[in-house]
Symmetry: none
Subunit: 193 residues, 4 copies
DNA sequence: AATGAATGAGCGTTCATTCAT
DNA sequence: CATGAATGAACGCTCATTCAT
């Protein structure tokens, strides 16, 4: 399995560094190869083409979000607490990895539509877990039973995403994880008194 | 003033059509010129460079959002109602103009970071108006006075934006404006009962 | 019409020189552009791609062979004399243009199969004229009436082609046109006494 | 001697199959290795480089033509009959081996000039035998004594070659060996009555 | 003001060959 | 002898921008 070979991860990590530091459109394959310490041609032993590198970056790292979230969903705690842990996990992963945050929030969005559709497909697994938390909350009476699950998910994800992007655009000047409680409260109670 | 000359708007509108129909990366200056019915070189009498066209597209159209929002902010109604009207206006403008929606939600985000920072600057005026609604709500006791205004704004804008993008990606299959009440309710009360 | 613009012919002629001097596989587009005194991109205003340059080289020059042959076919002389004039014309054109001879006899044959099939299609017009001479000879009793026209054409063309190629490979050391009579006599009478 | 080891012939035969089926430019060393059932690197234990494989293909197979022709030259028959047997042999070998015919008539001609010069050198032995038949015919009064031997050889070989190439390009649709008599007659008597 | 022909920098990918095992 | 992972040089084509007319 190619994904288990050390060079696979080596190239993925190199890609994140190069994209974060040079921007999406200035991240030539040769630059990624150099950062990874391999020859240009070696890239193509592990990836079909340049796009495949970028998809794999997202795949590998999004897995991390989903893998972290799965046990949380199964815990014996309230849906509200699960939501809290999900937000905290999301913020923590990105706060711990500024390069990755820059890549996912800013650079990868400059990719062409085809690539972004593939990225969205990968994201889906993560959003399904979020949906399951919302559903659980509705079923056990914690959450408003008349609300539209898809819209609720879009609010939760949209808010988390917008918050993170703003934080990245402000060059990580403040602590993202510190915002967890406030974001959580807003999502639970809305803006109204 | 160049902006008042007919060819200026002609080129802006051509750009929106071309980008919506061909995608950001397939929207060459020559294609925009052809659609606008002018020579390639003529573009450069009205715009500094290609990026300037795209910024101007956003500028011209975002003005519409802000211009629509300004009188709403001044109306003698509750902050909650203003929020409702703002969401409805946002959804209505984009639902009425599918090309524009595709361009702002999908295509323009593929531009490079520099362009997107400029786009954000243009967006600022709109977000300031949103901030003023939130502030008013807090001051008149409608909204939670302990909440972080910036986070609240990010939730409102992030939710609206995510909702719209999802709608565009689903190829406008359902009615976006119909979602106004539900989105409004979610933002006011959150997900909790 | 692009073919009438001076740069079209300028690029064709540059291609012949570059290919003759550097060989087919060492004739990069940039080299042809330089020889033609235009920018690389200009090539693509006149030709679809590199292959299109090569096809056009053949097209333009083969036209010369056919155009020279047409009036000969119509002359009021014997088929045998027409054959003589055809051979002489073929040899003369190539003897007068060593670069072209190298390109058609050696370099262009290194192109890929697809290109060579297109080249063959262009050649067809020339071979049709040759066929008409042979047919005429048969009909007026000059040539053997039982012979296979296609095979006769293949003998005539194969002999001319092989003779020319050998001359090119011998670096034009002897006079090609001088061979006309002998080749003509051989084709008419064969090797037998 | 490397040529006697089984893998040597194994690789040669694999090369012919791969080139005939994929075309010259799509016949990578790795593909030939795979077809031969050896590792890429193994190729280089038997051949200096890729060009060396192709030269060897020609060498090995041209030997077959010359080896078949030698006893014919020595037979106690007329020069005209020897010519007949030579043509028949040439056609038979290629008609019996479509892959080889495609490779020698079409694919190998796409190789670079250097390789083709080497191929010509190999061909020489074959052409020398042809020359000796022609000389013999002249000396024993069968063939025209004033004719240029080199030109006669070029006519014979050029005609055979052109005939074969046309047959290959027509995808072997008709029987090549059946043409022997007609080609022989044409070469002996020419087109004239 | 308007034109559009000309410019030229920039990059993903292939594949023959090597060499450590 | 045999392997196959790794190497890295090489090139056709696009398109934003200019400028002579």
């Amino acid at each position: 399995m190619k994904k288990d070979k050390p060079k696979y991860k080596q190239i993925i990590d190199a890609a994140i560094v190069v994209i974060a530091e040079n921007g999406y459109h200035q991240s030539q394959v040769s630059k990624i190869a150099k950062q990874a310490g391999v020859a240009d041609g070696t890239i193509y032993l592990y990836f079909k083409n340049k796009e495949d590198i970028l998809i794999s970056v997202f795949e590998e790292k999004m897995e991390m979000f989903a893998d972290n979230l799965k046990p949380i969903v199964l815990e014996n705690i309230s849906a509200s607490e699960k939501l809290f842990k999900m937000i905290k996990n999301h913020f923590t992963v990105l706060a711990d990895n500024h390069h990755l945050a820059t890549v996912t929030q800013l650079e990868l969005r400059q990719s062409n539509l085809a690539l972004r559709l593939k990225i969205n497909a990968i994201l889906k697994n993560y959003l399904i877990l979020l949906d399951s938390i919302i559903k659980e909350g509705i079923e056990n009476g914690e959450f408003e039973k008349t609300m539209d699950i898809r819209l609720a998910r879009q609010m939760v994800f949209g808010t988390i995403d917008e918050t993170t992007t703003t934080w990245v655009m402000n060059e990580h000047k403040y602590d993202l994880v510190d915002l967890t409680s406030k974001v959580h409260r807003l999502l639970l109670n809305g803006v109204k008194v």
